[in-house]
């Protein structure tokens, strides 16, 4: 279990008749950035609350930092940091005081030092004595992130960290998450922002009450859409369609104006042969490139398939 930050086995949570999380089995490695993608009400926040020992599961087991849920929840809370969906700051208190309170509650040894470190890191040091209530949305979010990190947790749960932020603030937060990853922390990121998940996450779980699919962004694309390659020609591509369709490595082929769009299992191996065949047949191949589906396509397709089931 030493290389695993989080392990869940059939973790479920009911609220009366409503099943919020169904049989979640998942392993997140130490140092990994794992993204939970799912629509509103999918159970992402409930999962995070279970894994931060805020609420108990109805069924199943989980280990966070090697500690079983329900065995020593205080130890779990000590070892994780949580950024909640809304910052929930003490708005009448200064930024520094907000952090000092939490540093003391997390039993941080050097309260003043840690508060200064994170205020400086997030560009809030100059405003440390200002009331949190006077801060912009972005500054509040940064302060809430600092609050979640004061005790240097090994695992950080970030629930919608860039929600409602302007592009510059969102960028700063994303850069900060990259910095946390570089420090080797495990990060669980709940987000609706698919580009953000694509940029930041090592693996993504598409989640709606149950886990629909898990994988790296590239794996999710490949599993769902296969790999597609576009051959750009100097002339109309329609003429060469029978040629490429006769190639056994091509599973799907389409001609659109000067482009041949081919689905291939292994483009790195098959592309040179295809280029050669096309050139020999008289085609002028201008360039070849892989078509990339956006994570949004992947997400929407997975949710649609789940709807159809």
């Amino acid at each position: 279990m030493s290389d695993k930050a989080i392990v869940t086995e059939n973790l479920s949570r009911r609220f009366g008749e409503i099943l919020a999380v169904d049989q979640l089995s998942l392993t997140i490695a130490k140092g990994e950035v794992f993204g939970f993608l799912g629509p509103n009400g999918a159970g992402k926040t409930t999962t995070v609350r279970m894994l931060t020992a805020l609420i108990a599961p109805s069924e199943g087991k989980a280990w966070v930092n090697g500690i079983a849920l329900g065995r020593d929840d205080t130890a779990i809370r000590k070892s994780v940091g949580l950024l909640t969906e809304t910052p929930g700051l003490y708005e009448q208190l200064s930024a520094a005081r907000n952090l000092e309170i939490f540093a003391e509650l997390y039993e941080v040894a050097d309260v003043a030092g840690q508060v200064e470190k994170f205020l400086r890191m997030l560009g809030l040091w100059e405003r440390r004595n200002d009331q949190a209530g006077t801060f912009s949305k972005g500054m509040r979010q940064k302060l809430a992130i600092a609050r979640a990190l004061l005790h240097e947790p090994a695992i950080v749960f970030l629930d919608e960290p860039t929600s409602g932020l302007d592009p510059a603030s969102a960028r700063l937060v994303r850069d900060f998450i990259k910095l946390l990853k570089a420090e080797g922390r495990t990060i669980v990121l709940c987000t609706h922002n698919l580009d953000e998940a694509d940029q930041l996450c090592d693996r993504i779980g598409v989640f709606r009450t149950r886990m629909i699919e898990v994988g790296t962004p590239a794996e999710l694309r490949r599993n769902l859409f296969g790999r597609r390659v576009a051959f750009h020609l100097a002339e109309p591509a329609e003429v060469y369609l029978p040629l490429v369709q006769s190639n056994p490595s091509v599973t799907e082929a389409l001609a659109v104006e000067n482009k041949l769009l081919l689905r291939l299992a292994d483009p790195e191996t098959e592309n040179p042969g295809l280029v050669r065949a096309l050139v020999q047949a008289g085609a002028n191949v201008q360039f070849v490139g892989e078509l990339r589906h956006s994570l949004e396509d992947v997400y929407l397709q997975l949710v649609k398939e789940d709807d159809n089931e």
């Binding site: 609350r49 609420i55 809370r77 949580l82 909640t84 929930g88 003490y90 208190l93 509650l105």
Partner: protein
């Protein structure tokens, strides 16, 4: 213990920024004290008022007047004991709005979830919130009582009534029973605060706690109860047991899960 102190300091930092709450804490004991001193001044300087009150002195209390004691002194003692009940009553009223707001206020500001995500136990959290509400109320009440003692000495022109004011029974009532009732009141308010979704509802329901103490107050006024040292200690013991029960219930009823998942 450090976490309890942190919660207390956090609560005070928030509460003392609210001028209305601060003025209630300071103003209420001062108002009662000023009213009582004014009334004492009026009765001790006007013989007709003292006589009129002497006529209405409850039999149970008149029986306590010492052999050969001047009726006027007895009346003054009687009035003072009516007043002193207020010092048991005030520490129960003052913390109501602080305590009633303390959990539901955090719910509405969405600051409760980050707080509950820290390694603080429910007992530590509630003890911190309880002490943050009780301590200012008790200190303000004791301050008011000291002013009342000093005012009484000035108004009566000496220390003749100090024995009545500072007898063991009343001291037990003010120094022990008052704070214990304050804890009782705050525990009740915290219980209410952790079960409702609206601070106004919390305050309205919490104010019900003053009713049992009103019985004590009116019982004393109509002579049904005569406050004695034995009664003060007995009530303190009862209050202590009730405090322990209420604190236990308060912790048990503080359902972290429900608080996080059912409030919208």
């Amino acid at each position: 213990m450090n976490k309890i102190r942190t919660i207390i300091r956090k609560e005070w930092a928030e509460v003392f920024r609210n001028k209305m709450v601060v003025s209630v804490i300071i103003f209420l004991p001062l108002l009662f004290t000023a009213m009582m001193l004014a009334f004492l001044y009026f009765t001790t300087t006007s013989s007709s008022s003292a006589d009129a009150l002497a006529m209405e002195l409850p039999e149970q209390f008149a029986a306590l007047c010492g052999e050969g004691e001047e009726l006027a002194d007895c009346v003054t003692s009687y009035i003072m004991t009516q007043f002193l009940v207020m010092y048991i009553f005030v520490p129960l009223i003052i913390p109501i709005n602080i305590a009633a707001y303390s959990v539901v206020g955090e719910k509405t500001h969405k600051s409760l979830e980050p707080l509950l995500a820290t390694p603080i136990s429910t007992m530590e959290l509630l003890l911190g919130k309880m002490l943050a509400a009780v301590i200012p109320a008790v200190l303000a009440t004791w301050g008011g009582f000291l002013i009342f003692v000093a005012g009484t000495v000035i108004i009566t022109g000496g220390f003749s009534l100090i024995g009545t004011l500072l007898n063991v029974g009343w001291l037990a009532a003010i120094l022990v029973l008052g704070p214990l009732l304050s804890v009782l009141s705050v525990c009740f308010c915290l219980m209410v605060s952790s079960r409702v979704n609206d601070p106004r509802v919390a305050e309205q329901i919490s104010s019900v706690i003053i009713l049992p103490v009103m019985v004590l107050l009116f019982g004393q006024i109509i002579g049904f109860l005569v406050f004695s040292s034995a009664l003060a200690w007995l009530l303190s013991l009862v209050a202590l047991i009730l405090d322990a029960i209420m604190m236990f219930l308060c912790v048990q009823l503080f359902a972290r899960e429900s608080i996080l998942t059912r409030w919208k």
